[in-house]
């Protein structure tokens, strides 16, 4: 199961809506071994494509060095699909290279840049095998 707080969830959805119809991508970093995402890191989609995403190579290096310094790991790797369902494509499965990460897929096919619900789903992708998991969104506690 992926447990994610409301602010991070909303940030991912906002990024996907903003970049629609291109695919948006990024990482939610968190303390190593915690399985808890704490830091929103939107990335440039170097492919600038409606059907493909790729982190810019220099940004990728900077991100991993930064996470290293902070003792973090990519707890979530997210990207959007803008015309298809929020399910990993064959390419997504073939290129998945973080066996410990939750792969979050957001689909903006229904409402594009506008307000309105999106599909938000999470998967494990290990050795070409996809397993969907539950997403639990933690609401902020009342002050």
């Amino acid at each position: 199961m992926l447990t994610i707080d409301r602010a991070l969830y909303d940030a991912v959805v906002a990024h996907a809506k903003k970049d629609h119809p291109d695919e948006a991508c990024g990482v939610l970093a968190g303390p190593e071994g915690s399985d808890t995402p704490t830091r929103f890191v939107p990335m440039v989609n170097a492919a600038m494509s409606t059907t493909f995403y790729e982190f810019d190579s220099q940004e990728l290096l900077a991100l991993y060095k930064d996470m290293d310094r902070r003792d973090e790991e990519p707890v979530v790797v997210y990207h959007s699909h803008t015309a298809t369902e929020a399910y990993p494509s064959r390419t997504d499965i073939g290129l998945a290279s973080e066996p410990n990460a939750h792969y979050v897929l957001v689909s903006t096919r229904e409402h594009g840049n506008s307000d309105g619900p999106v599909e938000f789903r999470s998967f494990r992708i290990v050795d070409g095998e996809v397993t969907e998991e539950e997403v639990s969104v933690e609401e902020p506690r009342d002050a």
Binding site: M43, L61, E73, S97
Partner: protein
């Protein structure tokens, strides 16, 4: 010639879980041969048909080797090599 090589999570099965190993070589191609000798199987994950794999990024002192000669990139003692799989998909 000792060169530090950072190994990504997905390739640590070849390095006994180590996040970093040391290698030797005057070029990236030689370094990869040296790594293969100590960590059999790792070369195939980096190289395909004599070329660096499209979705594997290698950096020497923070520079993406695609801009510095790819596998022919020259290496010096003390260089830092980072291997990172591309984060990409469709």
């Amino acid at each position: 010639m000792a060169i530090d090589v950072r190994i990504p999570t997905i390739l640590r099965s070849y390095t006994g879980g180590e996040k970093a190993v040391t290698g030797e070589g005057a070029t990236l191609a030689e370094l990869i041969e040296h790594l293969e000798a100590n960590h059999p199987g790792i070369k195939e994950r980096l190289v395909d048909g004599g070329e660096l794999r499209r979705f594997v990024n290698v950096y020497v002192n923070d520079e993406d080797v695609r801009f510095t000669g790819s596998l022919e990139t020259k290496l010096d003692d003390g260089d830092e090599v980072v291997v990172l799989p591309a984060v990409a998909g469709g």
